[in-house]
Structure formats: structure tokens, C-alpha cells
């Protein structure tokens, strides 16, 4: 399996990458870790005329905690995210989800920006970023714009990125006080595309009442989905077992209409979603003493 012919450019800087992308328009694709794009090219499912390699572009893989949140460069490898203490301290949900992202070999090459821009509906990081209400910095020749995760994923493998734009950085807002997190997914084998998954970011007030409950689901729609019904059911309430059960059932019934395939039917995915929402909420709320 060999890709169709293409032109290759190695960008040395973000500016050069943006110039190349804008020059070649929709025929050009940025090459990040290449863990999805290259197989797709080898299958000839993707035949970009031009690749702009970002791997030598400087300044795209910094991880820094600042007052306005945790900043992560688009070319940061999954493996770096997985092992970073800065990430573990400021965005423990990312750390919790990383072992579920494909396999270790893929994580050494795969990047955060690549995973988000690819927007596979079964991918973990898009759901994690939605749960964390992250903001993506998108740069082009016209300058920079900021897109919230909720507005970024617009469909199957489709995002708010326009031709000539590059996702350069992700900002995860600072952790609220008394916030906790949990991630779970179900796959036939570890590392396979998940049949369903859930990422939860929750917070409580000093009386233990829920102030925020964001659960993002993966692999149950054409894009990551926020469990709105669960959020509405829990916010302002004490997160009792009954409240969590009701929230999970409501979200699985009303927030999703999962597609079926040979691996799992629509009804089975809905069932998994209810179970996973309940489990991540239980785990997140009950781990609050430790954080």
C-alpha cells in the first residue's frame, strides 16, 4: 500500500506552515503525527496534493500553566501529555484519558492538535476537551481566532477549521475549586476504537452540592456530545446515587441517537452510554476527598 503522489514541504516555523497551507488551499494537509492521515493516504482514502510537515516547526509543543489556564501546543505528543506533571496537576482528566488513546507506539507519534483536527467520532481527546470546555487557537494569514470545543466539532471528521487554518494551541481553563474528573470507555480490546466512552469534569460547593457537571460522550454520534440532560439534572443538587442514576438515564435517553455498526447496535450503545455516564459521575464525585 503506497500513497498517491504528493508534494512535501517541511515547515520550520508556524508562520511558514501557515503560508504554505494558505498558498496551496484545500489541496494541502498539515502533517502532524501522521497516525491517521498516513494510513488514510496509504489506503488512498485521502489523496492530498500537498503535505505541510509540522514536525520541525518550532514553538508548537510547549506545555505551560498560566493564569488563564493550561496552554498546550498543537504538536504536543500524546506521550508527553500522558507523562507531563504539569498536565496531571492542571488537567487530570487528560492524564486519565491518555492510556485509552490507541496504543503506546501510536502515542509516541500522535499529537493533540492532530487528534482534534482529525475529529474522529471515536477519539478520546475531542470528548475530553469538550468536557473541559477547552478553547482552541486557530491561526491563519488573517491572524488568530479562538474556537470553543463545543463549536469546533461540526460533524463526522469535520471541524470549524477552514482551508489555510492551523490549530496551534489548546487552552484548558483553570481548574475550579473542589473539581474532580473521571474517564471510562468500553472497547472490545484495549486500544480499539471505543464502542462508547465518557469523560466527566465535575465540581461541588462547600456543602457538597454540585456546581458543575460536564460529561462528554464519544463514539455515540458523529461528533463528541455533551450530556446536557445530566448537567441540568445535577447542577445545584447534591450528587446522590439516585440523582446520578437519574441524570445518566436522562442523558442516554435524550442527548444521543447513536449509530449502529457490526460492533454494536444503536440500542447497545445507548445502554453503554447510560452505564458509562453513571460510572464516571460516581467516580468523579466520590473521589472529591482526594483532590
Amino acid at each position: 500500500m503506497k500513497p498517491a503522489p504528493f508534494e512535501y514541504f517541511r515547515a520550520r516555523s508556524v508562520e511558514e506552515a501557515i503560508d504554505l497551507l494558505s498558498e496551496h488551499g484545500p489541496d494541502a494537509k498539515p502533517l502532524a503525527g501522521g497516525q491517521s492521515l498516513i494510513p488514510a493516504m496509504n489506503f488512498r482514502l485521502a489523496t492530498p496534493a500537498v503535505l505541510v510537515d509540522l514536525n520541525e516547526a518550532v514553538g508548537l509543543s510547549d506545555v505551560t500553566a498560566q493564569d488563564d489556564g493550561l496552554h498546550i501546543g498543537g504538536m504536543t505528543r500524546h506521550r508527553t501529555l500522558e507523562q507531563s506533571e504539569t498536565v496531571a496537576r492542571n488537567a487530570p482528566l487528560v492524564t486519565a484519558a491518555m492510556p485509552f488513546v490507541a496504543h503506546a507506539a501510536i502515542r509516541t507519534r500522535g499529537t493533540l492538535g492532530g487528534s482534534l483536527a482529525h475529529a474522529d467520532p471515536a477519539a478520546e481527546l475531542p470528548a475530553v476537551m469538550l468536557a473541559l470546555d477547552a478553547v482552541f487557537t486557530v491561526r491563519s494569514r488573517q491572524g488568530a481566532r479562538h474556537v470553543r470545543a463545543a463549536d469546533f466539532f461540526t460533524g463526522l471528521f469535520t471541524t470549524a477549521l477552514e482551508a489555510g487554518e492551523l490549530l496551534t494551541e489548546v487552552t484548558i481553563p483553570p481548574r475550579p475549586v473542589r473539581s474532580t474528573y473521571a474517564f471510562q470507555e468500553i472497547a472490545r480490546r484495549h486500544g480499539d476504537y471505543a464502542l462508547a466512552g465518557a469523560a466527566a469534569a465535575v465540581a461541588v460547593d462547600e456543602h457538597g452540592r454540585c456546581t458543575s457537571a460536564r460529561v462528554a460522550l464519544l463514539s455515540v454520534a458523529d461528533r463528541p456530545v455533551l450530556a446536557e440532560h445530566a448537567r441540568r439534572a445535577l447542577e445545584g443538587e447534591p450528587p446522590t446515587a439516585d440523582a446520578i442514576n437519574a441524570a445518566a438515564a436522562a442523558a442516554a435517553a435524550h442527548d444521543i441517537d447513536p449509530p449502529g455498526d457490526i460492533h454494536a447496535s444503536s440500542a447497545y450503545r445507548r445502554h453503554l452510554a447510560a452505564v458509562l455516564i453513571r460510572r464516571v459521575l460516581e467516580r468523579a464525585f466520590h473521589s472529591r476527598e482526594t483532590s
Binding site: L45, A46, A119, L156, F157, D261
Partner: protein
């Protein structure tokens, strides 16, 4: 894969029926249709390009045959598509019912088999893609229907 659902058109049944029998309208409404022409009674041939996000458009030669026509209420479609990355073939049954509010409800059930490379690497995505294309097509048809009704109203 079986895909079924109901879609409500904002217009009377006869107009919806006429719309669904017009290859020019179908060519505009079906996502990625480059060309769709009548090649015989109730038989259309054309070329469709299917692209999903960054994936390169896959070209299919498509033949659509209408059968079991009971105007303006029901018909079935036979669909046969072949391309470099695989094939799709199947049938769809369509029923139109008048609604009290002047709209028309369309019930559809389709059973489509997809094979070749596209199925071996994209199996988990087929239903999502099919749903997306169905939704785009129906919304485009409804827009066309509204345009026709508005044109009739301003012309009379």
C-alpha cells in the same frame, strides 16, 4: 445496513411526489451528485462524489430505478453504485402521507449493502455517513419544495 425514519415536508403530498420524480431536483438534493440523467422510464444514471471531512471524495457511478409506483403515495427505489473504493447496492421503500397541517410525512426504510475497500476500513462510519447524507438530501428537498410553493404563490 437498515436505515429508516420519518421526515416531514412543509408542503402538500402531490407536490412532494412531483419533486421526488424530478431528476433535476434529485441531482441538486442528493449530496455530491455531479450528474443525474434519465436513461429510461423510471431509471436514472449519474455520478456521485462522496466526501467525508478530510477524506478525498470517492466517485461512484450510480443507477437509480423507481418501481412499485402508486402515485402520490408510495414507491420503491433500487440503488446501485460502483466506484474505485467499493460499491453500494440496495433498496428503499418510501411512503408519503398527508398531514392535517398541510405538510407531508415521508416514511422511509432502506436496506443497503456496502462492500469493497470502503466497507473494510470504514465499517464503523457507514451508518453515520448514511444518516448525514440522508439528512442533507431531505433538507435540500424541503428547501426546493418551499421554493416551488413560493414561486407558485407569487406567479398566480
Amino acid at each position: 445496513m437498515i436505515l429508516s425514519g420519518t421526515f416531514t415536508f412543509n408542503g402538500p403530498r402531490q407536490k412532494v411526489w412531483d419533486l421526488l420524480q424530478d431528476p433535476g431536483v434529485l441531482a441538486k438534493a442528493l449530496p455530491g451528485t455531479e450528474r443525474l440523467t434519465m436513461s429510461g422510464p423510471d431509471r436514472y444514471e449519474g455520478v456521485m462524489k462522496v466526501s467525508i471531512g478530510p477524506m478525498t471524495a470517492a466517485k461512484f457511478d450510480v443507477t437509480v430505478t423507481l418501481a412499485d409506483k402508486q402515485p402520490p403515495e408510495r414507491f420503491t427505489l433500487q440503488i446501485d453504485g460502483k466506484g474505485g473504493v467499493g460499491f453500494a447496492r440496495g433498496s428503499a421503500a418510501v411512503t408519503l402521507q398527508e398531514q392535517g397541517d398541510g405538510g407531508t410525512a415521508m416514511d422511509y426504510t432502506s436496506d443497503v449493502q456496502i462492500g469493497g475497500r470502503i466497507a473494510s476500513v470504514g465499517q464503523r462510519l457507514i451508518e453515520s455517513v448514511s444518516r448525514m447524507m440522508m439528512r442533507q438530501a431531505l433538507e435540500a428537498l424541503d428547501r426546493e419544495l418551499r421554493a416551488r410553493i413560493d414561486a407558485d404563490a407569487s406567479g398566480s
